[in-house]
């Protein structure tokens, strides 16, 4: 390839990258600027705020502070429970031989294609019957249960990439299969568990559907429901709304930036070797 052509091509790809970077960043930058603007400044979307108008953030916190606490109280235990249940189900399915294990795996996988709408109405009555309607514990249970297909799929594939010889050696040494799981396999699987934890924190923190179906009061409503209500009120105040939105974005965004590598490695699993 001639040097001129190559240079031309590099310039073209650079332009494409810059254009897309601007498109990707613009909404976030505008949201940050808006969150610091006083109400009269809002009409000038491209201007910088005259001075930092922190009041937007105090309004947002007074309206959504409780939701943020609820979101944390729901997400942290639900993530731990869901990756644990995925590991517990994935372990036997990775090691069982024969048609039985494959059948159970297939059935659990079909859960991934189920749109949650088909469970929504019975789930509402089921959770009410269990006395868990509008409780944080109810959200733990529901998020754990609906994570079973994906978490099982993920952890089964991860365990399948752990050398089988480790398992067989442990059994020959007299280590029981349950002991092997808790003492050897789980501690050796931290990278897979971390990747799954990241995926699950996004899914659970960001959930709206289960939250609007199964919670009704400030005692248990997560921040996503509050933002949704805030955004669809008749007179939307974009300053406080952008402030609250940005605060709700931060926890998962930071987690992803910190754990990005393990997320990618875990997602590609055995296929990525």
């Amino acid at each position: 390839m001639s040097a001129a052509l190559q240079q031309h091509q590099t310039a073209l790809t650079r332009t494409v990258l810059v254009v897309f970077a601007v498109i990707f960043m613009a909404p976030l930058v505008i949201a940050v600027l808006t969150s610091f603007k006083s109400p009269p400044e809002l009409t000038q979307v491209l201007s910088f705020p005259g001075e930092f108008y922190w009041q937007n953030y105090s309004i947002a916190f007074s309206r959504m502070g409780r939701g943020l606490i609820n979101s944390i109280a729901i997400t942290v235990p639900a993530v731990a429970l869901s990756i644990l249940i995925g590991a517990v189900a994935g372990y036997p399915l990775a090691y069982m031989r024969g048609a039985g294990g494959k059948f159970v795996y297939f059935i659990l996988l079909t859960g991934m294609l189920v749109p949650f709408q088909i469970v929504q109405i019975p789930l509402f009555f089921l959770v009410q019957g269990l006395g868990l309607y509008d409780t944080i514990a109810g959200m733990w249970l529901v998020h754990t249960a609906y994570a079973v297909p994906f978490c099982t799929f993920f952890m089964r594939n991860f365990f399948a990439s752990v050398p089988r010889s480790m398992y067989e050696a442990a059994l020959i040494d007299g280590c029981g299969p349950a002991r092997y799981f808790w003492k050897l396999l789980l501690p050796a699987s931290t990278s897979g568990l971390a990747a799954l934890a990241i995926i699950q924190s996004r899914a659970i923190w960001n959930d709206l559907l289960f939250a609007i179906t199964l919670t009704s009061s400030d005692q248990s409503r997560p921040v996503t429901v509050q933002i949704s209500g805030f955004a669809s009120s008749l007179q939307v105040e974009y300053g406080p709304l952008m402030a609250g939105t940005l605060v709700s974005i931060l926890p998962v965004m930071v987690a992803y930036l910190v754990f990005q590598k393990s997320f990618v490695r875990g997602l590609l699993g055995g296929a990525g070797k």
Partner: protein, 301 residues
Amino acid sequence: MIPREWIPTRTTRTHLAFLALPVALFATFYVYPIISSVYLSMHSWDGFSPDMRWVGLQNYKTLLAQPRFFNAVLNNIAWVAFMLIVPTGIGLMLAAILDRGIRGESVYRIIFFLPFTIPAVAVAAIWRWMYEPTNGLITTVLDLAGLGWAAQNWLGDPAVVNASLMGAVAWWTTGFAFLVFFAGLRNIPTECIEAARIEGATSWQIFWKVSFPLLWPSTIIVLGMSAIDAMRLFDIVWAMTQGGPAYSSEVLATQMYDLAFGRFEMGRASAVSVYLLLIAAVVIMPYILYMSSRVQDSEAE
């Protein structure tokens, strides 16, 4: 020897004990509610009264005669096509460009991936502000460029609302496709690329004849997840338009929610959800079959 006889049975018993709780959860939260929804879909019920009237397949027939229902089905199909093509295509393009080794690579990687981490309701809030018809960013930029005539009532006009929603979703989900493709490209052994280059292939040929086929594990993950997300699509539509204006941006999930929790027509809402399940099964079952058949492949190795 006794242990050889003994270990498998004990192992099997442990395995079954491990499976008990996940399977019980699956039965309680997937199987039972699905059966219950199918049962409900053959009734007329408001969710409160003890009077639940059997209507057979009437709800299904009524829906088929409704333009509102058909519109939601068509929207769902459009969403599947859109999710499979647009975020996947842009993500693949960005990953391929960035894979050639460009300065500032890690910064671009973070920028392209960031929107994916944001909750749907936050995407909705931000993009409602972008699409604000008088002061929003998009209208402002069009005005500045002298294209003010092209500005629309982005979320208020039935003719453009779906395209507006898709723009927001492309911004939101492209990062996932990008990151998975990028990781996949990084995993391709450089010898394969080098060999093709020595043979005299152009970079365009190398990408389509060598890299892209080797990207299959990434491609299957991205396509499968896109199809699943498209069928489950609810949050973003609900938070941005609630299906409006005049039901024009409705998908089956938001229609079902409106019928069940807005109008308390539990039977008809259940029938919508059964249709949705059937469509999802047709669209996604090939993916599930493929993923579960890959089990045998890995064990055979």
